[in-house]
Symmetry: D2
């Protein structure tokens, strides 16, 4: 897949940050169980798109990093996933 | 709570590694859904013990870091949690 | 524990229905994953209270039945759980 | 989709029971969290196949009923799902 440029990413996903060849965003919740319920919904999306995040959780915070491993950068697949996560 | 020394930790949790004031262990599964099912069981333990991990997931791998934030190191609480995770 | 009378239940949980010695309520969501994310949060509550529902799911609908098995009726434990579920 | 006959079902899914136009099976686990971890994996399958069970849980027991709503009976879709569940 085509690697998106930083300016393309900024336009498509204004609320995500760019770091090297990845995009990331931090999500904050009321508590751990709400953070984990969010993670479960992201997990469903990941399985559906067959595209899995590199993510971490500490208590009520979830950080999601997305990039397309095979292509070594951010592609439309990551944008699709980020947009699906935003809709939750 | 009392901070455990590295040698105490090594005795109690021989399969966990020590890094600075934390312990960590990496778990590998057949695929993403099995990794996430494991995470959900860890999440139940975390809620029960009211002690939450600092953890990350990439596809079929889950890395769990444990330490007791309030005490700035590894305590019996972390050992209890690590042992509960081992039993899964 | 003390079995609550129907009128006590009605006062405490006006939005739950009474059927024989149980209370139940049906919850509807946008889709299956949102229904299941709700179920996961209820599961966390169930483990915390060590009180488990008798529940079913069809697509976007979750029906939860609560009663205290050991006492053969609805008790404060069920009210506590129903209220925790309502807060989700 | 084609509705399968009881004898076709018996051959394809010898461990599932037939009741009216559905198949069902009961699964038992060590405790509630293991039952729920199983449910989560079934939920992932359901989303992947876009085919959702009619299921219930009481503590460590999960009962799964499968049928194809649109066709009013058991079809290949249900067999595919039952086989995926069996593999967990």
């Amino acid at each position: 897949m085509k690697i998106l440029t930083p300016s393309e990413i900024k336009t498509l996903l204004p609320q995500w940050e760019i770091k090297e060849n990845t995009i990331f965003k931090s999500f904050k919740f009321k508590n751990f169980t709400q953070a984990f319920a969010f993670m479960m919904q992201v997990a469903f999306i990941a399985e559906k798109l067959n595209h899995h995040p590199n993510w971490s959780n500490i208590y009520n915070t979830v950080e999601i990093i997305l990039y397309t491993h095979d292509d070594g950068g951010v592609t439309d697949k990551d944008v699709e996933m980020a947009k699906a996560i935003e809709k939750l």
